[in-house]
Amino acid sequence: MKRREPGASSESQRTQATESVGRREFLSRSLPAGWVLLAALTGCGEQTGGEGEETAGAPEEATGGGAETAVPEASAAAENPLAGYDPSQHNYAMAIDVDRCIGCGRCVEACKTENDVPREPFYFRTWIERYVVQRNGHTVVTSPNGGISGFPPVEEAEILRTFFVPKLCNHCSNPPCVQVCPVGATFKTEDGVVLVDHDYCIGCRYCIQACPYGARFLHPVTRTAEKCTFCYHRLVRGLVPACVEMCPTQARIFGDLDALSSPLARFQRMHKIQTLKAHLNTEPKVLYANLDGEVS
């Protein structure tokens, strides 16, 4: 089974139109070069090299950075996405390295595109916040259109520090939204992802009230609750969430909490981890490194 490589594939598409060199010849020359260049630029080789292979039993155990996101069984998965997928073998989580986020908004755009999220600026499965902490102790937080188009230059004076924080559903182990849903339309999957059954949701919006993170909204067309699913349709195909795939700085790392050796496991070993609103005992599975105390 041949590994499909998204970066290389886009490169090949570009060349088809421009080069007069023989197609086969060009591909055979450019593919390895493109792979090496891309790996060097994104640094994904450093983080994922070998480890993706180590977790071959869990093919979806991949990380951000774009390149190492496809799976060996991709073509089989395309025929029957759920073939061989065993949710009991996984316990998904996402780590976010706040220091790596540059607020470019690619993740927000990827999420909206991948999941067909309404484009209006009040519906987000993921968004980015910019914190500007001033010398006088005052903190200004902004998220223009969820940060989808990046951020304007900082206007505040006397800046002490500033940083970006990506936000999304925390897929809590102890989710208040699941607790309050009167019909059980919001539920936690065996592999630890909190989902909404849109054919079952009655649209009472109690889950939206119960979520401490503002991660839910009511879809204006379906009139049901909506939120991040960790791109579950991709997970079962062995792919990582779209936001993770698109992040150019690998600020988002996705994986299996139970895997002993994985980028996520390594990330947890190498960083001090915090979660949002830990005092509420929701036990989030979105794990932050280098999180500032100002973040709420």
Binding site: V141, S143, P176, F217
Partner: protein
């Protein structure tokens, strides 16, 4: 859809500070304000009815049946605002079929069904059965049909049967008091148990809801008793009105004390949310909370009732003639209703106006039309009175309409 998006765009312009992007849309609007207000009236009216039955407060006897019918009329309407507010009302039956037993809201159907079927309908049936039998014997046409159906074929007018009616009614009232507490305490719990929301998350909320329910229910019955007496050109029993005013005063004192306790507790603890909540109270909620709920809806009626009702002694502090007392009681009751509606507004809307990021405030724009708009809400508040009118037509609650069967010794 277009207008909805347009309206959200306007809201976005009016937000202050930082709110999470998904918080621009305020999800529980006017209909959800109407819901706890209406259920509160149900619980309050029923608790008032139980005063006569269980605690033998004879003075309020003229309002006993009126209270029961009012509770029923409002209970029939109570689920409608919830239903209208759902994104998929056609799926609401799922709450009964596959309830999530961990959800406070899932219990709604069961608490509601228990209260409607077991408590209110049974109590009204036992209370009116003998009357309906006698009325159906004297009447003709549709009224006779209605009363016959009401009796469900139980036409026994023997002394034993009537005595059984009475004791069964009393037993149901005994069950009914905790049930009324459950009904409205439960509504409070729906809000009080949301730990994500510092404005709602309080163990006192169900208790505050309960006492505010009693206040609003008693005030409503006082208003209805006065208005119906006026329209029927019947003299108001001032002993009854004085007693209702006294009970209104007691319930209001407890309600206000609990609310102040909650308020002072928050202020003293001064948790991280205190700053944004203070901002909200002094800006977005100033009129509805400080002016309408506290000053006009609580302090003013407390002063009126404290001075003019015989709440402390057999005589009031200032003895006013009956006509003036009636007017003052009526004004106090109206103010209380406005105040309790504001209380519901401040809980429901207030809990969503500040961001859970605790860094900003949004605004709530009431729509005029639409399923969740002002017109629908007004209709749902008027509808119980129309139902009550129909109920009163067929089951007159007036003391003089009640059938008194001659006992064996008399006959």
């Amino acid at each position: 859809m277009e207008s909805h998006i347009q309206s959200l765009m306007e809201v976005l312009q009016q937000t202050k500070g930082y709110i999470y992007p998904n918080e621009v849309e305020l999800h529980w609007g006017l209909l959800v304000v109407v819901y706890p207000y209406v259920t509160g009236l149900v619980a309050g009216a029923f608790i008032l009815a139980s005063l006569e039955r269980v605690f033998n407060v004879r003075e309020v006897q003229p309002t006993y049946r009126l209270s029961l019918l009012t509770a029923l009329a409002f209970l029939l309407v109570a689920p409608l605002p919830l239903l209208a507010h759902l994104g998929h009302p056609e799926r609401s039956f799922e709450i009964f079929l596959t309830p999530n037993l961990n959800s406070a809201m899932a219990m709604f159907g069961f608490v509601y069904a228990w209260y409607l079927a077991v408590v209110l309908l049974l109590e009204i049936w036992f209370d009116y059965r003998k009357d309906a039998v006698v009325w159906s014997q004297k009447e003709t046409g549709f009224r006779r049909f209605v009363h016959r159906v009401f009796t469900l074929g139980a036409n026994d007018l023997s002394e034993d049967a009537v005595a059984f009616d009475r004791s069964a009614g009393k037993f149901i009232t005994f069950i009914g008091i905790p049930s009324a507490f459950l009904l409205h305490g439960y509504v409070g719990f729906i809000f009080g148990s949301v730990k994500a929301n510092p404005w709602w998350s309080s163990v006192l909320i169900p208790v505050v809801f309960l006492f505010s329910a009693m206040v609003s229910g008693i005030a409503l019955i006082l208003i209805l008793y006065m208005l119906t007496s006026l329209f029927r050109r019947v003299e108001i029993d001032m002993r009854c009105a004085d007693k209702l005013a006294s009970f209104l005063f007691y319930a209001l004192i407890i309600d206000f004390s609990l609310e102040m306790l909650d308020f002072i507790h928050r202020l003293y603890e001064a948790e991280e949310s205190i700053e944004i909540l203070s901002q909200m109270i002094s800006s977005r909620l100033f009129i509805s909370l400080v002016v309408l709920q506290i000053l006009l809806g609580t302090v003013a009626p407390l002063v009126l009732l404290g001075i003019f009702s015989p709440a402390f002694h057999t005589r009031a502090f200032v003895h006013a003639p009956a006509e003036l007392r009636r007017l003052l009681y009526f004004c106090a009751a109206i103010l209380i209703e406005v105040g309790i509606f504001s209380t519901r507004w401040n809980v429901v809307i207030g809990g969503q106006i500040f961001s859970k990021s605790l860094r900003g405030l949004t605004v709530y724009k009431v729509e005029l039309l639409g399923l969740e708009g002002l017109v629908t809400s007004a209709f749902l508040l008027i509808l119980p009175f129309l139902i009550l009118y129909a109920l009163v037509k067929y089951l007159p609650p007036w003391p003089e309409a009640e059938v008194h069967l001659p006992s064996k010794s008399e006959s």
